[in-house]
Amino acid sequence: MTAIPGMRDLAHRLLTYEAGLGKSSESMESPATRVYEKLRQSLGEFVGVAGFYSLATRALTLSRPEVPSLIAVRVAADGSLRGLGEIENQFDIDKDQAGEGGIVLIARLLGLLRIFLGEALTLSLLRNAWPGAAFDDQNSALGRKA
């Protein structure tokens, strides 16, 4: 089972956007971790810690068949992610492979949001979490103007 069409592209764009922000802020965390954390903050506010934990564990489980290395990643009780940085560092030589786990995980999480909340509400939440990012790319499933 692969991610919902369009989610991967959206996840990739979010990671790219965060990578751009990371360069200026000299953040030590990977773009995938920062995207995940922003989603955790944004979603956690209304679904609660337990609600976000449930979504994150489901997304992680769905991601593992696509990226087996994610078996080493865990969702902590507070919803934070443990181990993603480590597996990304293991793929120092192949940067594309290193980012794959993060992209798939974020895509799965966004896919769950889309399933439960629908496209319009998911986009509203993303716009709130990334006020500077553009989500109106006509080519993206979740990128059309809501």
Partner: protein, 504 residues
């Protein structure tokens, strides 16, 4: 103190069709309200409608969810309603989950969390859903009272209109400290009556507002909660003074029997057994109104509008053109599980939409049968309220009712609704000279004189046609089995009643 010195309480739209009228024009700004009721009664949906009607990016709404329905599922379901605009989240409407605080800490921590968010956001509306789940924790009554008191005080000071949503049973209404603090208490009920669910809401309490007392039917549709005021939203409208104007049936002889026609604003009952021409008479009444420039509504329950119009066409009456011109609406109402109030609101909406002056309800029996059994108990009361409201604004109503024919008695209506009517026209079969013929008589006219004559009539291709003079040579016509009398007919003109009412 003059009126100018008094504080003006702004009324906020509830976002619930029909509810503003029930609460007296809207909910008071900065009020502290409780929406109570059983699970599934529509509390959350009602609160969402209020939130979407009042939140803005400048003064957003804070929607605190506690234990109970998960926020993600709540949003999943709530966005199915047409009022739900996802683009307004989270800018104008923020959902904040307090489950963790409630589970791990105490009411003080909950208050602290709410306070923090309110100070940060400056909301116009605050909702705590479900408030009741917080209360079930082992807190003392004093803790709870203190919490409510402080919450109400804080939120009012911060100029927020607040809703606490809670699952409450009827017997919890008394001696509840929470209800004492609240400015408004909206109680939603749903009960199963036979095979139908009956939903009703009550404004148990609303400080500073002249709300409409009693139980009001409501329905949850794809548009959310819709309420139907017991007064049909017509309380604010002045009753027209009684009119002397007479409305014609388009049947000259019948108009004469009625002393010149039906008085404008009257409620007329046409009673008779099957096939006596009640619907034909009603159709002629509405068609004549349209001919005279008076828009009309026909509410039918036993045939579809197309069939109704076709039957009228067979009598030479064109009901198609006025429908296209917006002068006539034929409502086909087979609500099945609708309440009588909802059905009557449909009629009222149609009346107000085209400015109808004449309304035909064909028939009362069909109307009642179309209602779900649980609502039939309210039928006559609601009908009375609707007739009172509509005639008060000058609409003339003609209702038909089927009467079981008996050859031993002459009932005016088996329906016990004759008290609702100003005028009664009775149609019946009689056996004369080996034929089953039809006669009509005006039983009652509240507003004036009417003929006492019993007149024979026929239904022809031109509708109801009254034949000749009164049937003077028969005794016992109203029994249906008259006896021929040799007394000569001396009366030329219809004799008029003196206005004395008959017992109905």
């Amino acid at each position: 103190m003059s009126t100018q010195d008094k504080v003006k309480i702004n009324k906020l739209p509830t976002g619930v069709p029909g509810l503003d009228e029930i609460v007296g024009g809207g909910l008071p700004e900065f009020s502290f309200n409780i929406i109570a009721g059983a699970p599934g009664s529509g509390k959350t949906t009602l609160a969402h409608q209020f939130v979407f009607a009042n939140a803005s990016s400048e003064r957003p709404a804070l929607y605190f969810t506690v234990l109970g329905e998960s926020a993600i599922k709540m949003l999943r379901y709530q966005q199915q309603y047409t009022f739900f605009d996802p683009a307004r989240l989270p800018g104008s409407i923020r959902f904040i989950n307090l489950s963790q605080v409630v589970l791990e800490q105490n009411l003080g921590a909950v208050l602290e969390e709410i306070t923090k968010e309110v100070e940060k956001t400056n909301p116009a509306v605050v909702v705590v859903d479900s408030f009741r789940t917080m209360v079930r924790k082992q807190e003392s009554d004093m803790d709870l009272q203190s919490f409510i008191q402080r919450l109400a005080l804080f939120l009012a000071s911060w100029q927020a209109t607040t809703f606490l949503i809670g699952e409450y049973a009827e017997d919890e209404l008394r001696d509840n400290p929470i209800f004492t603090v609240a400015d408004g208490l909206l109680w939603l009920r749903q009960t199963a009556e036979r095979n139908s669910i009956v939903r009703k809401l009550q404004i148990v309490k609303l400080r500073g507002q002249d709300s409409v007392p009693g139980l009001h039917t409501f329905r949850i549709t794809e548009a959310g909660v819709q309420a139907f005021s017991r007064t049909f939203g017509l309380t604010a409208r002045k009753r027209n003074p009684p009119s002397d104007r007479r409305l014609s049936f388009g049947i000259a002889e019948l108009d004469k029997m009625l002393g010149g026609g039906v008085r404008e604003g009257d409620s007329v009952l046409v009673a008779g057994s099957s096939g006596t021409g009640k619907s034909v008479l009603a159709t002629q009444f509405i068609a004549e109104g349209i001919r005279q420039g008076e828009p009309g509504i026909v509410a039918v329950f036993e045939e579809r509008p197309q069939a109704y119009a076709e039957r009228a066409a067979s009598l030479g009456l064109d009901l198609e053109t006025p429908q296209k011109d917006g002068k006539l609406t034929i409502l086909y109402l087979r609500p099945l599980d609708l309440s009588v109030d909802e059905t009557m609101h449909s009629i009222l909406d149609a009346v107000q939409k085209i400015g109808a002056k004449r309304l035909v309800i064909d028939s009362l029996a069909g109307f009642e049968m179309a209602l779900s059994p649980g609502f039939r108990a309210d039928f006559r009361e609601s009908l009375y309220r609707m007739i009172f409201a509509l005639t008060g604004i000058g609409v003339t109503i003609l209702s038909t009712v089927e009467v079981d024919e008996s050859f031993t008695e002459f009932t005016f209506s088996t329906y016990s609704v004759s008290f609702l009517t100003d005028d009664i026209i009775r149609l019946r079969y009689v056996s004369i000279d080996g034929q089953l013929r039809k006669v009509m008589v005006v039983i009652k006219m509240r507003g004036g004189n009417h003929a006492k004559d019993i007149r024979e009539y026929e239904i022809t291709s031109k509708g109801v046609v009254i034949l000749g003079k009164r049937l003077a040579n028969y005794q016992g016509l109203i029994s249906g089995i008259p006896v021929h009398s040799d007394r000569p007919d001396l009366t030329e003109a219809p004799s008029l009643d003196t206005g004395i009412e008959h017992k109905t």
